[in-house]
Amino acid sequence: MGERRQFLQGVAGAAGCAALGALGLGLYARQTSALPAHALRPPGARAEEDFLGACLRCGLCVRACPFRTLRLAELGEGMASGTPVFEARKIPCEMCPDIPCVKACPSGALDKGLKDIDRARMGLAVIVDQESCLNYQGLRCDVCYRVCPLLGKAITLEARRNERTGRHAMFIPTVHSDKCTGCGKCERACVLEEAAIKVLPVAQAKGSIGAHYRLGWKEKEQAGKALGPEVLEFPVRRPEP
């Protein structure tokens, strides 16, 4: 009887140790699963929740990167330690056409289906601060536009009237999400002390219009004619005499 009790106590103790450890670990992992906004994944990285189940934390992508853009997150940085990241403001992605980091990945956490670096979506550039962006002040900085590897496609300059002077134009840098790879060259090059254009994870940078929403002019283009009467007639309501 005593032996059996001792055995059961031993098992319970061992299982208890493990459960305690697992609980703490699970909570810690949950807490640090989200990537901080300044950290970007290499090209071809799967969606974050899939990436954390796929990346072996070996660092082979880091070794393959010729520009030392990539590094492994260290313990205590508030993200999954050992996973590859880069910071656009420090060293952006140079978008190698042969994508050596993806080739080096042994697990497929970086998707080998990515053959064209222009289709990479590491993040999405956003003008996060119109109040300090020089072009928004009517000046001709244009640096983010100039350094973009997809010049004239991922960032365009949209002419607006400069209301302050009344006689000049403003050239507003405008990012196009269907072209921007999130390489981060614009953020790196921004001449301000703190960049006014930043590359954010796509999920944080992109809005969504909602599936139910219809834009009349697009529907008209698709259908070849207006879906409703072109000019709506509303009854005129006046106060009773």
Partner: protein
């Protein structure tokens, strides 16, 4: 030679680290990557089968390179002794051996007795966590890969985890980490359950009960069945890490390395 196996073992551990460090420090790229996954001479892929298994349980269809690398490593350790990984490859062993070695002159006694089965339960828990959270969760804190990756890629706060393991082994319980808690060791113990390379107490008849082997062995419970049991002189327990320390310290030359079917006695 005295301490032959200890010297060979340290050479293996430090040599492995040197191979990984030769690239970043001297630009000699014999091995790239880390213990979790690496490429040797641009051709041979090796991956940690435990990490790859967690990835599979997390729901990721691993690419061929990781599967092949894990297969090669698993086959090697399954034959050569699963926990050979612990005492011949793992960098944390240097830390915990140092703690165990320091305990003796400092006269530190065991304070807490941890159950040895905790590591197997923890192994199970890490696999369940991987499946439940869809992430390779153990790699967030695994001291083995944290230390190795830290040395090869940049330490961060990994030193704190390694220090914690050292203090745990030194002050809380002897051989606490490798002998009781580490799920990596538990995985390799299961992997090497049928390993070919084993230690045999072939000359058990010469044993003069000095207990030197028990004192130095990180897993002393594995010695008794071979040394004092009747059935077989072989140490067949998966917990034995083939460190060969018992062979080194035995003045009667009771122990030797052999294969698991060699039941000869002197």
């Amino acid at each position: 030679m005295k301490n032959k196996w200890l010297i060979l073992r340290r050479t293996s551990q430090l040599g492995l680290l040197a191979l990984f460090l030769a690239g970043p420090l001297a630009g000699v790229w014999l091995v790239k990557g880390s213990l979790a996954s690496s490429v040797t001479l641009e051709v041979l892929p090796l991956s940690d089968p435990y990490v790859v298994l967690q990835g599979l349980l997390a729901g990721h269809a691993m690419a061929a390179s990781a599967l092949l690398g894990a297969g090669i490593a698993a086959a090697f350790y399954a034959l050569a002794g699963g926990r050979l990984y612990c005492s011949w490859s793992c960098p944390v062993n240097l830390v915990t051996d140092a703690a165990a070695w320091l305990r003796r002159p400092l006269g530190l006694r065991a304070e807490v007795s941890l159950p040895r089965a905790a590591r197997t339960w923890l192994l199970g828990a890490t696999l369940v966590l991987a499946a439940a959270l869809g992430a390779i969760v153990w790699e967030w804190v695994n001291p083995v890969t944290l230390l190795h990756r830290g040395l090869v890629f940049g330490l961060g706060l990994a030193w704190a985890v390694v220090l914690a393991v050292f203090l745990l082994d030194l002050l809380v319980a002897p051989r606490a980490w490798c002998g009781h808690l580490c799920p990596v060791g538990a995985f390799y113990a299961l992997l090497g359950a049928g390993a070919l390379l084993r230690v045999s107490a072939r000359a058990a008849s010469r044993c003069d009960d000095c207990l030197d082997c028990y004192r130095v062995c990180p897993e002393p419970q594995v010695i008794t069945p071979a040394l004092k049991g009747g059935a077989s002189p072989l140490i067949l327990a998966g917990a034995c890490s083939n460190c060969g320390r018992c062979i080194d310290v035995c003045r009667q030359d009771v122990f030797r390395f052999t294969h698991r079917f060699d039941r000869r006695r002197d």
